[in-house]
Symmetry: C3
Subunit: 360 residues, 3 copies
């Protein structure tokens, strides 16, 4: 399996020089954008692998923490680059898109692929309930600054809008830290896989030094290619007649989460549904409760102006409906191919909406 | 049972000549409207019976398909007639109303009647979950063209609004076809009744010819009486001081679905809850995922202009809340009389809203 | 336990003379407001105790009815006083706030405290489902007059808005009476505690006379102190820079429900989760389905003008989201400390919203 899959993804490293060459020679923006996008996929994979290797050297608890914290590093890097460029709309779009891609696309494809092979697949219901309520809390929280912005529309982010966002970010981060404590310390049994031990075929073991160096090198590469990617994003939208929200929600989000989505789907195909769902939903939670508020706090140091979580109305509704649907579809602890179809269908329909309604 | 019920419904055939006479003699619109409405109830019943008889000659799979496809023929006929008359608002109102009537009124009365007789009634939870998530997907999908219309309000349906609706219709129909495949082919066990075989007391068996001729004749009658009904609808609204949305959501919807609602309630009273719920929810799903998109595609040939699924805001919210409520109330596989009261109460309250808020 | 707790709450009676003295000497509004608030807590407790004692003399059914009807007497008294003063906005805010405080704060703290002591706590799932669907029905119903008011914004409550509210109030009260009948008569088994008998350590038994006299005296005291409280509310808001919605939702609501919230939390700490949840959710249902519509009907006699249930948009959304979240978090019949954190977190975040968005 591994030996079949690996060549495919590793080959994408070839797009690093291609993207750089295209950028230097001022090729058309979409060409640069999609080359950079493809080049980030294997880099993200590398970040994931090195984090896992590092986690192998720590205890279970710290390992879980490491995985949880670095799991969305590629998304974070892309978002920070866009933040520095002042592209707040694109940052928010890529965050929302990453959640939608995980909840609907990654989980949907995993259900579909797994369901075709195994008819029905069972998994741990308890963890799903925790994930669902965390996601609902996240989406409810994100509604509030967006609602504030809509209701007090005229000004360019007043004093109190900024304060509301800072306090909210602190509340969400507190919730996230307690969630890690709950997951790792007090109730790890809630997140156990059903039956089968989740002993993956660990290929080789890296040394700590190798893991650390790889992590740092891959992160630098990711940052560099993200710069290329984000630099070409707006122009790409114009050339292809797509809004920057659409580019952010669909393309940036899929690129940032590609490595994890592939893992989730691979696990689904191996009938390891608990791992598959854990990756897809865990990643959504992290983006909403860790990456998003962290970006708000960081923006006061890094960006030209504070990032406020004022998502466009349509995206908030899309997020809310997706969370409710995912909770309903996944909530009974048994998946099949048609559940996959349902999730993918809604992803496609939401994509249509974003394509046709530029202002959302 | 059958011999008590039948006289009641068959007698309504008498309203066919009554309605035609009233229309010819230019009687007041409400008289024409309600006579035509009553006359459609037994015709719809006839369509249902002949479809069932035809289905008896095919295998289970094709039979299920027949039932699923022709089950809402009366609704479809009424909607097509209104479509040809260019009454798009009334078409949408009757679709939304049919869903509400099935989800809340038919299921509510079935729970109430069954619950009074049997205290608690159990049914298959797995199928309820599939139905609920299908309905949620349908409602989410219908939000999108409505949102588009609200956000880009000025123009009279631009190029991109039309395209969005066509693509959405295709996506919904694809989802519906895969749902039939799931239901009939890969997971029929999900939709089995609990325990008791659903062998109804089949009175007599019709010949294929009789079934086919009855189906065609009843459909023609339905179309004819629908023409009378729809022709008098707007004028009836004016005379009674009701908006055309209210007429569509309440009266047209109840008339179109009367035959099925009666079946669902009869099954509830016989403690066959799985059949009862299957009829009520199955019919809602069909309207949302088959009739509605089919009407959009048909409107490009039949109607004066393309039908777009831009439901008024209030109806979308009503649909969404009803689906969530129905999923919550019915979701645990056990019904009682008070669950029936809950569903009926919300139907009444939504009716009040539509009566008092003409613009929704 | 009792002997530790009691001193704390009884001592608060001292705030009765303090509040009266402060009001007479025209002290600053916040001082008067918070003294009156603190003085109401033990009075509310007294009302609860005397109702319970009275209930002990009747059969189970009537006792349940008494508890159900007088349980929210303090909230009702505060609301009536505000109603007479024409402070409709504050009445609605205190109703919404009482529901939020019960659903999120009381239940959250109960889960948190209980969860720290007992790791996991199990309770009866069936009753939770009934409570959740009742609350959803309540919130859906409250959306409708609010939507009406928003859509027909200009006028100051026309004829039809008043009629809609009266009819809705009647529908809700009918639903509530049938709910009591369901709970007390036909399906009391749905509301049984799991396992352990809910025999509390009943201290002493009061005579009927004592119970009745205490009930009346405490109610009079509550009315008197509510007058002081409500009289200082608006001025307090101005001095502290808070909107009257914020004062109503947060402070009035917590004061009115303090006695019950304390009971709910105490039960949680004693691992009697069914009682704890029954108090918190039962109280929310009563406010939404009994107090709110009763106030509408009463306002036509008592108030300067009819109270209409037109909650501000933000409060309706907050209520709806809280009900969905509470249903999801509490729905599986097993609580832990982190579920408490989740509910409290959303309460805090909604408080932030109300603080920063004065117009909601």
């Amino acid at each position: 399996m591994q030996s079949i899959l690996k060549p495919g993804i590793h080959w994408l490293f070839a797009f690093i020089p291609v993207a750089i060459f295209l950028e230097q020679s001022h090729a058309s923006a979409p060409l640069i954008f999609f080359s950079a996008a493809l080049s980030i996929v294997p880099i993200a994979r590398l970040i994931g692998n090195s984090t896992e290797q590092l986690a192998g050297y720590t205890g279970d608890a710290v390992g879980g923490l490491l995985n949880a914290t670095f799991g969305n590093l590629p998304e974070l890097i892309i978002a920070v680059i866009a933040l520095k460029a002042g592209l707040h709309g694109m940052v928010l779009a890529s965050l929302a898109g990453a959640i939608l891609a995980n909840l609907l696309l990654a989980m949907g494809v995993s259900f579909l692929v797994g369901g075709i092979k195994y008819h029905n697949q069972d998994y741990n219901v308890t963890s799903i309930r925790v994930y669902s309520s965390m996601m609902l809390i996240a989406v409810i929280s994100l509604t509030i600054p967006s609602g504030f912005h809509i209701l007090t529309a005229e000004q360019p982010a007043g004093e109190s809008e900024n304060m509301l966002n800072i306090y909210l970010a602190i509340a969400l981060l507190t919730g996230y830290i307690l969630y890690l404590f709950f997951m790792i310390k007090t109730h790890p049994d809630f997140f156990k896989s059903e039956g089968k031990g989740n002993a993956e075929e660990h290929e080789e073991r890296w040394s700590v030094a190798r893991a650390l160096i790889t992590l740092v090198a891959a992160s630098v590469m990711a940052a560099f290619m993200s710069e290329v990617l984000v630099g070409a994003a707006e122009e790409t939208g114009k050339v292809l007649g797509m809004s920057s929200v659409f580019i952010g929600v669909i393309f940036l989000a899929i690129v940032g989460g590609a490595a994890e989505s592939i893992s989730a789907i691979t696990m689904g195909a191996k009938n390891k549904m608990d791992l598959s769902i854990g990756i897809a939903l865990g990643s959504s939670i992290q983006i909403a409760l860790f990456i998003a508020p962290a970006l708000v706090l960081m923006s006061t140091f890094v960006g030209p102006s504070q990032l406020n979580l004022n998502f466009p109305r349509g995206l908030i509704v899309a997020l809310f409906l997706s969370v409710i649907l995912a909770a309903m579809v996944a909530g009974d602890g048994r998946s099949n191919w048609y559940k996959g179809v349902q999730l993918i269908l809604i992803y496609i329909i939401m994509g249509m909406m974003l394509y046709f309604i530029p202002s959302v």
